[in-house]
C-alpha cells in the first residue's frame, strides 16, 4: 500500500492517444479520482481492473479524436474541389497535358511491350509440368593444357543415355532423340518434305508434357516405324479423317533409317511456340535403332540429344561431383578427353552454354538490353512529367499560398498533388494499354513471336500494373508534391521570385539525364546498324549472289543422275554453272574426326566441321586455292582419296605454311589418301564466329543440294524452267528451292530483329525526350515573352533572340553528350563482343550522335524560339 500507487500505464496511454485533446484532462482526472477511491475502498488490483474496464467503456465516438471534428467540414467537398482543380489545370494547358499524358503513355506502352516480350522469352518451356526435374546432357572435350572444357555441344553420342540410366538411381527416365531429320512423306497424291522432325524414345511423353490427343503415351513411340503426328501435320495429310492406324510412306533418312511405311500411332497437340525445340512429327527412336544398331553403342558417333527426368533424390552438385568417376568407369583410357555437363530445362533457351542446339535459343543479353531501354524510356517520360510540373510550379504556387492561408495542411497539399499526378498517370496507363494492344501485331511481326495480350493479363500482372501506376504517380508527382507544398504562403502570395533555384537546377539535371539517355540510345542505334551492315557487306570469301539452291535431301537417284542434271541445266543460257554438295555455307554440316600427318611427322587425330562436296563445288562458290589443286574430273582417284581442306585446318595440324600439308597422308570416315589442296579461309558459319578448320572431301553420293549460279533478267522464269527440268528428271522429288544469300542471312534473323527493335525503341525514346523538351521550351519562352519584347524594342534582332533562347538547352545537351559517351561505349562494346567480326567504335559516332541530338533539340526549341522572336513586341508588352 505504501508503494507509490498509480493507474495502469497502457490504458492511460490508450486514452491519451485516442481521446479528444480538449476532453483529456477532465476525463483522465475523473478516471484517476475513481481509481484512487476504488483502491482505498477495495484493493489496488480491483482499482486497476476497474480502470481498464472503464477505459474500454470510454471508447465512444463522441469522445474520440477525428470521428467528427467539426460539423462544417466535409472532406468530400474538398476532394471534389481537388478534382475540379486538377481537371481545370489539364484543360487550361491543353498542350502540356497532351505532352504529359501521351508522352507518358508512349513511354509506358514501350515498357509494356518490352515487358511482354521479356515475359514471353522467359516463359519458354514453362509449360512442362516436370520443368524443375528435366535436365539434359551437354557434351564437351577437355582441353589438353588447362584441363577445362571450352565448349559444349548438346548434340552428342547415344550410349551416354543408357549409361546414365544404369549408373544414377536419381535419374528416373531418359529420353533420347536424333538430330533434326528431313524426310519426304507421301500419302497418295500428297507428298511433303518434312523438315526438322525427330526420332524420339517412347519415354518422351513421360518426360515432356506434350498432350497426346489420340493413342497411348506409353506405347505410341515404342514400335519401329511408328509415327506421332501433331494436329497440324495430321490435318495436312489426312484432313478431317482419323489418321490413327493409317500409314505414311517415308523416304529414307540417310544414316538413320531406311525408307518404309510409318504407322500413325498417335496425334498430339502442336508443340507450343514457346518451346526451345519444336517439330511437326515424331518418329519412334526404335526405327533408328533398328536400322543402325551399331551407333547406339558407339561413344564416338554424334547424332543424339539426351534429356532426362530426375527424382527427389537428385542433387545437382552431388551429381556433378560423381560425373568424373562415372566417365572413368565408362572409359578405361586415362587419356580420355570426353566429358559431360548437365543443363536444367530453365537454362535451355536463355542460359545455355552449348552449341548444336535442337532448336532456337534466345539471348539473355538482348533481354537485358531491352529491359534497360524500357527503363530508359520510362525514365525519360517520367522526367518530362516532372520537368513540366516543376516548370509550372510557380503558377500553382499561388494556389498553394491561398490554400495554405485558408487552412490547408501540408499533408493535404501533398495528397492533392500526388493525387493529381496519380490521375494523370492512370489516364496515361489506359492510353498506354490501348497503344500497346494496337502495336502488338507490329511487334509480333518484328520479333516473330506470338505475344498476346490475353496471355499477359494475369492477376499478378494486373497487380504489377496497378502498383507501377502508383509508383510512377509518386515518382512523377513527388517534386510538385513535396516542394510546392513546402512554400510559405507569405512569400508565394507576395510574388515569388520567378523560379525557385532548386527547381532550375533540378530541371537542368533532369534534361541532362534525359539527353544522356537519348544520346546513348542514338549512338547505340548507329553502332548496331553499322555492325549489321558490316555483316551483310563483308566479303565472306565465297560467292553467295544469285545462287539458287535445290534441296533433294540426299535422294540416291538424283545423285546418280547428277551429270545428266548438270548438263541439261547448264545447256540453258541463264544458268552459268551447276554443282552438288552435302552442305552449304550457313546451313547444317556434321563434324568429322580426321587423322592427318601433322607438322611434327606424327599422325594426329582431331575433329572439325566437314563439307562433303561434289567435284564442282569449290569452283562454283569461287573459293580460292592457296596451295595444291582443286578436285578435277581429270583425276578420277579424287573420289576415293583426295582431300581439300582450308587454311585453318592446315594450322590446326601445325602447318604455318599451307603448302606444306599438301601431299600428307590422312584418314577420315573410312577414307584414306592425301591432302591435295588448301583453300583460303572463308566464312562458312555466321560472322558471330571465327573461321573454323574445315575439310571438304569429294563424296558425290553424300550430296543433298544442287547449287545453280543463275544469270538472268527474269528470275521467276528461270526458276520455272528449272522446275520443268527437275520434274522431268526427278519426278518423285518435290521442287524445293531457295537462295544462298537469303538462307545465309537467315542466321542473322535474331540480329536483325534486335536491330529493328532497338532502332524503334530508341527513336521512340528520342521522340518522347523531344516532346518534353518542346514543352519545356514553350514554357520558358512564354515566361520570357516580356523580356523578348523589351529586347526587341531596344533593337535586338531575331537571330540574337533565338540564340538567347536556345543557348541554355544546347549547353545541357553538350553536357549530356559528355556523360553518355562512356556509358554507350562500354555497353555497345559488350554487345559487339558477340561477333567475331566487328566494327571498331570510333569516337566520331558519339560526336555524330551528340550532333544529332543537338540538331533535334535545336529544331524542337527553335520552332518556339523563332515564334517568340518574331512576335510583335507591342502585343507582348501591352498586356499586364
Amino acid at each position: 500500500m505504501n508503494a507509490p500507487l498509480h493507474p495502469p500505464k497502457w490504458p492511460v496511454r490508450v486514452l491519451r492517444s485516442v481521446l479528444k485533446k480538449k476532453y483529456l484532462e477532465e476525463i483522465e482526472g475523473d478516471m484517476e479520482e475513481i481509481f484512487f477511491l476504488t483502491a482505498r475502498e477495495q484493493s489496488a488490483a480491483a482499482a486497476r481492473r476497474a480502470y481498464c474496464i472503464e477505459m474500454l467503456k470510454l471508447l465512444r465516438p463522441i469522445l474520440l479524436k477525428n470521428f467528427k471534428t467539426s460539423s462544417i467540414h466535409n472532406p468530400f467537398m474538398m476532394y471534389r474541389n481537388y478534382l475540379i482543380i486538377a481537371w481545370r489545370n489539364l484543360v487550361k494547358k491543353k498542350g502540356y497535358s497532351t505532352i504529359n499524358i501521351f508522352g507518358l503513355a508512349l513511354g509506358i506502352a514501350c515498357c509494356l511491350l518490352i515487358a511482354m516480350y521479356v515475359d514471353y522469352e522467359r516463359s519458354f518451356d514453362g509449360y512442362h509440368s516436370n520443368r524443375d526435374r528435366i535436365y539434359r546432357v551437354i557434351h564437351g572435350s577437355k582441353d589438353d593444357k588447362s584441363k577445362s572444357t571450352k565448349s559444349y555441344w548438346v548434340w552428342g553420342n547415344a550410349p551416354i543415355g543408357q549409361a546414365l540410366h544404369d549408373n544414377f538411381p536419381e535419374i528416373d527416365k531418359v529420353v533420347q532423340f536424333s538430330g533434326r531429320a528431313d524426310i519426304l512423306f507421301t500419302l497418295g497424291e500428297k507428298s511433303y518434305q518434312e523438315e526438322g522432325l525427330f526420332f524420339m524414345d517412347s519415354t518422351a511423353f513421360d518426360v515432356f508434357s506434350w498432350k497426346l490427343l489420340r493413342g497411348n503415351p506409353k506405347t505410341a513411340l515404342a514400335a519401329p516405324f511408328s509415327v506421332v503426328l501433331t494436329e497440324s501435320a495430321a490435318k495436312k495429310y489426312f484432313g478431317d479423317e482419323d489418321p490413327m492406324g493409317k500409314s505414311l510412306k517415308g523416304s529414307d533418312s540417310p544414316g538413320r533409317a531406311n525408307a518404309g511405311e510409318y504407322l500413325v500411332t498417335g496425334v498430339m497437340k502442336d508443340v507450343p511456340a514457346n518451346s526451345h525445340f519444336r517439330f511437326t512429327i515424331l518418329l519412334s527412336m526404335s526405327t533408328f535403332r533398328k536400322s543402325r544398331p551399331d551407333i547406339f553403342t558407339e561413344w564416338g558417333y554424334v547424332d543424339t540429344y539426351t534429356y532426362f527426368l530426375v527424382n527427389d533424390q537428385f542433387d545437382r552438385a552431388k551429381f556433378e561431383a560423381k560425373v568424373p568417376d562415372f566417365l572413368a568407369r565408362q572409359f578405361k583410357d586415362p587419356m580420355n578427353k570426353y566429358t559431360i555437363a548437365i543443363e536444367p530445362l530453365k537454362d535451355m533457351y536463355l542460359g545455355t552454354v552449348a552449341e548444336r542446339q535442337p532448336g532456337e535459343v534466345g539471348s539473355m543479353a538482348n533481354l537485358y538490353i531491352f529491359s534497360v531501354i524500357g527503363v530508359f524510356i520510362l525514365a525519360i517520360a517520367i522526367i518530362n512529367f516532372m520537368n513540366l510540373s516543376t516548370a509550372r510550379s510557380m503558377e500553382r504556387g499561388k494556389e498553394v499560398g491561398i490554400r495554405k492561408s485558408i487552412g490547408a495542411e501540408r499533408r493535404n497539399l501533398i495528397a492533392q498533388f500526388l493525387g493529381e499526378s496519380f490521375i494523370i498517370v492512370s489516364l496515361s496507363m489506359v492510353v498506354a494499354i490501348l497503344v500497346a494492344t494496337l502495336a502488338l501485331p507490329a511487334m509480333n511481326s518484328i520479333t516473330g513471336r506470338a505475344l498476346s495480350i490475353n496471355h499477359f493479363i494475369t492477376l499478378l500482372n494486373l497487380a504489377v500494373l496497378f502498383v507501377s501506376t502508383l509508383l510512377i504517380g509518386i515518382v512523377a508527382g513527388s517534386y510538385p508534391a513535396f516542394v510546392l507544398s513546402s512554400f510559405s504562403p507569405a512569400t508565394v502570395l507576395k510574388g515569388m521570385s520567378k523560379s525557385g533555384k532548386i527547381g532550375i537546377t533540378l530541371r537542368r539535371g533532369l534534361v541532362i539525364l534525359q539527353f544522356s539517355l537519348s544520346i546513348a540510345l542514338i549512338a547505340g542505334t548507329m553502332i548496331v546498324s553499322f555492325q549489321m551492315n558490316h555483316i551483310l557487306n563483308k566479303d565472306m570469301g565465297f560467292d553467295k549472289e544469285r545462287m539458287l539452291i535445290l534441296d533433294y535431301n540426299y535422294d540416291e537417284s538424283v545423285n546418280r543422275q547428277r551429270e545428266v542434271l548438270k548438263t541439261e541445266m547448264e545447256a540453258r543460257p541463264d544458268i552459268v554453272s551447276v554443282a552438288f554438295s552435302r552442305s552449304v555455307p550457313g546451313g547444317y554440316f556434321p563434324n568429322a574426326y580426321t587423322e592427318i600427318v601433322a607438322a611434327d611427322g606424327q599422325k594426329k587425330g582431331m575433329g572439325q566441321p566437314i563439307f562433303q562436296v561434289g567435284v564442282d563445288f569449290i569452283n562454283q562458290l569461287g573459293l580460292q586455292l592457296v596451295a595444291g589443286r582443286s578436285y578435277s574430273r581429270d583425276h578420277p582417284t579424287d573420289t576415293i582419296g583426295g582431300l581439300v581442306i582450308n587454311e585453318a585446318a592446315a594450322r590446326q595440324y601445325g602447318y604455318a605454311n599451307p603448302a606444306d600439308i599438301v601431299g600428307k597422308k590422312y584418314s577420315q570416315w573410312g577414307r584414306e589418301g592425301e591432302v591435295i589442296g588448301v583453300l583460303k579461309d572463308f566464312n562458312f558459319i555466321s560472322l558471330h564466329r571465327t573461321i573454323e578448320p574445315l575439310t571438304l572431301p569429294y563424296e558425290p553420293f553424300a550430296c543433298r543440294y544442287v547449287l545453280l549460279k543463275v544469270q538472268s533478267a527474269n528470275l521467276p522464269g528461270t526458276i520455272e524452267e528449272v522446275h520443268k527440268i527437275w520434274a522431268r528428271l526427278a519426278p518423285h522429288r518435290p521442287f524445293l528451292y531457295s537462295f544462298l544469300d537469303s538462307d545465309f542471312n537467315r542466321q542473322y534473323q535474331n540480329d536483325f530483329n534486335f536491330k529493328t527493335l532497338f532502332s524503334l525503341f530508341s527513336s521512340l525514346a528520342i521522340l518522347i525526350a523531344c516532346l518534353g523538351l518542346l514543352g519545356l521550351a514553350t514554357y520558358t519562352t512564354e515566361l520570357r515573352t516580356k523580356e523578348i519584347g523589351i529586347r526587341k524594342v531596344l533593337g535586338a534582332n531575331i537571330s540574337s533572340i533565338v540564340a538567347l533562347l536556345s543557348k541554355d538547352f544546347i549547353v545541357l545537351v553538350v553536357v549530356a553528350m559528355i556523360i553518355a559517351t562512356p556509358v554507350a561505349w562500354y555497353s555497345m562494346n559488350r554487345w559487339l563482343e558477340g561477333f567475331a567480326y566487328r566494327i571498331d567504335i570510333h569516337f566520331w559516332i558519339f560526336l555524330l550522335a551528340g550532333v544529332a541530338a543537338i540538331a533535334v533539340a535545336a529544331l524542337t526549341i527553335s520552332f518556339q524560339a523563332i515564334k517568340a522572336a518574331r512576335g510583335n513586341p507591342v502585343t507582348s508588352l501591352r498586356s499586364e
Binding site: 484532462e25 477532465e26 482526472g29 479520482e33 467503456k57 470510454l58 469522445l63
Partner: protein, 112 residues
C-alpha cells in the same frame, strides 16, 4: 413542445447537474446518480451524455480546481443553461399533465 432530443438518461444527468450546482463534475455526478438509480454507471456513459448535452446547448462547463487525488488534473464543472431549465420544466409539466389524466383512464380500464 419543440423536439429537444433529450433522452431519459440524459434527463437524469441534467437534473443531477442542476441539483449539484458547484459540485457538478464527472465523478460527483456519477456517484450521485449511482446512489439514486441504485446501479453501477461507467465513466464513459456519463461523459458521453455530458458532451452530447453540451453540444446541444443544455450544459456549459468550465475548469474547476485541481486536486491531489486527481493527479493534479483539473475538474470540469458543469452548469445548466436557462434553455435546459426551460426544457426540463416543460417536460415536468407535460409529465404532470399526463399523470393527472391517469386515474380517470385507469378507472375506465378497470370497468371494462
Amino acid at each position: 413542445m419543440r423536439k429537444t432530443k433529450l433522452g431519459e438518461f440524459e434527463e437524469f444527468v441534467l437534473l443531477t447537474v442542476a441539483s449539484l450546482q458547484r459540485d457538478a463534475y464527472g465523478v460527483e455526478i456519477k456517484r450521485t446518480l449511482e446512489q439514486r438509480m441504485k446501479t453501477k454507471l461507467s465513466v464513459g456513459s456519463i461523459q458521453s451524455a455530458l458532451k452530447r448535452m453540451e453540444e446541444k446547448g443544455f450544459l456549459t462547463s468550465e475548469f474547476g480546481e485541481a486536486s491531489q487525488i486527481r493527479g493534479g488534473k483539473r475538474k470540469r464543472i458543469y452548469s445548466t443553461t436557462s434553455y435546459a431549465h426551460r426544457v426540463l420544466s416543460e417536460m415536468k409539466e407535460i409529465r404532470a399533465g399526463l399523470w393527472k389524466s391517469i386515474p380517470a383512464l385507469s378507472l375506465e380500464l378497470k370497468s371494462v
